[in-house]
């Protein structure tokens, strides 16, 4: 049995049936990390003590013949923007190089309560700001499928680790596409749940009205199992919705025949790579043969999504990142004489170029005289983008699109042009702005063997439908 190629259910069953142990599973993944991660760079910190302690707990349960919880013994990785008690959490930034949180993120606590073994913390773009993982202050992540290419971002480490068999599943975060786009580039499944479906408590905030936590996984079923585990109301996050959590796993196998799938021409225009276009068209054909009806829909404000996103996200970020002042935690510059000098120099030294750029843009958009022209304008267009989806979902059950206009690009290819980098998120940001769920699943490869992703978008709190469609496609 190859311990590093198992799904959640296979791993749990193997531990339950005593064919292996949670300890051996963790060790096999650490061995793989040792072997592979030098060149990939997916992990920033390993939490071996915590992992082996949890593995031991699960192994004792299995030895006593007790039924294991749903993720009993399953090795997982956590994007380094989620707080882990006693385990260094950097958000990919130098400013938090030595930060050790005193509490756990709710999503992490729920995974561990369900038996998961946390191997370590995943590399990411600094404060989740980026589409290539090149903005990590520590090192870029490389795509396991082609080491000259990026894994996508910002959850690049989370996607690469699953693709390279260094974790069974990982948690990522998505503010403008940061789960789905790297999933697409690395050939894995990435699910962004509805805003409010998963608590954000303990997630280091980038843009609070857009931040989502969700899984990156080898299969749709694994993503459904993780979502079932982490979803639901949390009193520690007032935006977590008080809406019952369905059993996504049981719902997976129900039929998709007769479902109406929207295809929007705005997602197939200029800039879409020819090979990606073809792969997504074939995927749509396959969904048709599975019994879905394809319906043309229009999302007319799509061309305005990226400018809207970059005003709202940066405005929120400029406020959220004000907390990094070198007082209670975070880097403090040496040799400063006044409080004001301490703030400035600490932030100057601690933040990377892209983070500073976004803080500046956001501060500008919120500043006196520009608030109405930029921030308020963007909030109004956000309403229009959301209405586009409301309108489309009156006619269809889900919408299918490419996840990203291209397959994985090369390291350095876009790193000097912020706008070109922002456009890598052109098909993903609208779902974040509208708060609807989306999933990316592999749908073929380019001639150069690079994975291509199919995105399925759903109605608010209807993860059931997009998971079912993704599962039917994956199995079909």
């Amino acid at each position: 049995m190859d311990l590093t190629s198992l799904t959640i259910e296979a791993a749990r069953a193997a531990v339950q049936e005593r064919e292996t142990t949670a300890f051996a599973l963790a060790e096999a993944h650490y061995a793989r990390i040792k072997q592979e991660d030098g060149q990939i760079g997916a992990f920033l910190t390993l939490s071996k003590d915590r992992a082996l302690e949890q593995a031991d707990r699960i192994d004792r349960m299995a030895a006593e013949g007790k039924p294991l919880p749903p993720l009993g013994g399953v090795p997982v990785g956590i994007k380094d923007v989620m707080s882990t008690r006693g385990v260094r959490t950097t958000a990919g930034s130098k400013i938090l190089e030595n930060y050790v949180p005193p509490y756990d993120c709710t999503a992490v606590a729920r995974l561990e309560a369900a038996g998961a073994v946390v191997l370590g913390k995943m590399n990411c773009d600094e404060f989740a700001m980026g589409s290539s993982n090149e903005n990590s202050a520590y090192r870029p992540v490389r795509n396991p499928r082609d080491l000259s290419r990026v894994p996508g971002g910002s959850s690049g480490g989370s996607a690469a680790a699953v693709a390279a068999g260094m974790a069974v599943v990982t948690l990522g975060s998505d503010t403008g596409g940061s789960i789905r786009q790297p999933a697409s580039f690395c050939g894995v499944v990435g699910l962004m749940p509805t805003y409010g479906r998963v608590s954000r408590y303990g997630l280091i905030a980038f843009a609070s009205s857009l931040d989502h936590i969700g899984p990156l996984a080898k299969t749709v079923r694994d993503a459904a199992i993780v979502l079932r585990t982490i979803a639901g109301r949390d009193p520690m996050d007032s935006t977590s919705a008080d809406i019952p959590v369905p059993d996504y796993v049981v719902e997976l196998d129900k039929p998709v025949r007769g479902m109406k799938l929207g295809v929007a021409k705005e997602y197939f225009g200029e800039g879409l790579d020819h090979e990606v276009h073809q792969a997504v068209e074939s995927a749509i054909d396959k969904l048709r043969t599975l019994g879905c009806e394809i319906v043309p829909v229009s999302l007319p404000h799509t061309p305005y999504a990226i400018p809207t996103y970059y005003l709202i996200a940066t405005a929120e970020a400029s406020a959220n990142l004000a907390r990094f002042d070198g007082v209670r935690y975070s880097h403090r510059a040496r040799g400063v004489k006044t409080l004001s000098e301490m703030y400035r120099r600490s932030r100057d030294e601690g933040f990377g170029a892209e983070v500073k750029r976004r803080i500046m843009l956001g501060t500008y958009a919120l500043s006196a005289g520009y608030y109405d022209a930029y921030y308020l304008k963007a909030q109004k267009v956000r309403t229009l983008l959301t209405r586009d989806f409301d309108e489309a979902f009156r006619k269809v059950d889900a919408i299918v699109t490419p996840t990203s206009p291209t397959a994985a690009f090369r390291l350095g290819e876009k790193s000097n042009d912020p706008l070109a980098m922002y456009l890598a998120d052109i098909y993903t940001v609208t779902a974040d702005l509208a708060g609807i769920p989306g999933i990316s699943i592999p749908c073929g490869e380019t001639k150069e063997k690079l994975p291509i992703g199919l995105q399925i978008l759903g109605k608010h709190f209807d993860e059931t439908t997009i998971l079912r469609l993704a599962h039917a496609y994956e199995q079909g």
Partner: protein, 112 residues
């Protein structure tokens, strides 16, 4: 050019950033290029469109109510220690770059 050197200095000041000469020059270029791009939002007439600050007031709320009452589910009784105890003193200070036993320590705030 929408943004000038003076704007960059002003905004950096608001954001508590110092920025080197080189960073300021780069910021001037990038902010102008990004703001040029977002200009396309003005193609849309939004005079009758309400702003949207968040999505969570649309779902799982009591839609018959207005304002804070829509979020009744999120309120709770006021209890002495809240949802969890405050951090112990030493844990709260553990990540501070500079602290004594009781307080965070910072450079002098008031100049004399």
């Amino acid at each position: 050019m929408k943004v000038t050197d003076k704007d960059v200095a002003y905004v950096a000041d608001l954001a508590n950033l110092e920025l080197t000469e080189q960073e300021r020059a780069g910021m001037l270029r990038d902010l102008n290029s990004i703001l040029d791009y977002v200009e396309r939002l003005n193609e849309l007439d939004t005079s009758e469109v309400p702003p949207m600050a968040q999505v969570s007031d649309r779902y799982g709320v009591d839609e018959s109510k207005q304002g804070g009452e829509r979020f009744a589910y999120a309120s709770r009784e006021d209890v002495l220690e809240g949802l969890r105890k405050s951090l112990p003193h030493d844990e709260a200070l553990a990540n501070a770059p500079d602290a004594d036993e009781d307080f965070f320590r910072v450079p002098k705030v008031i100049e004399r």
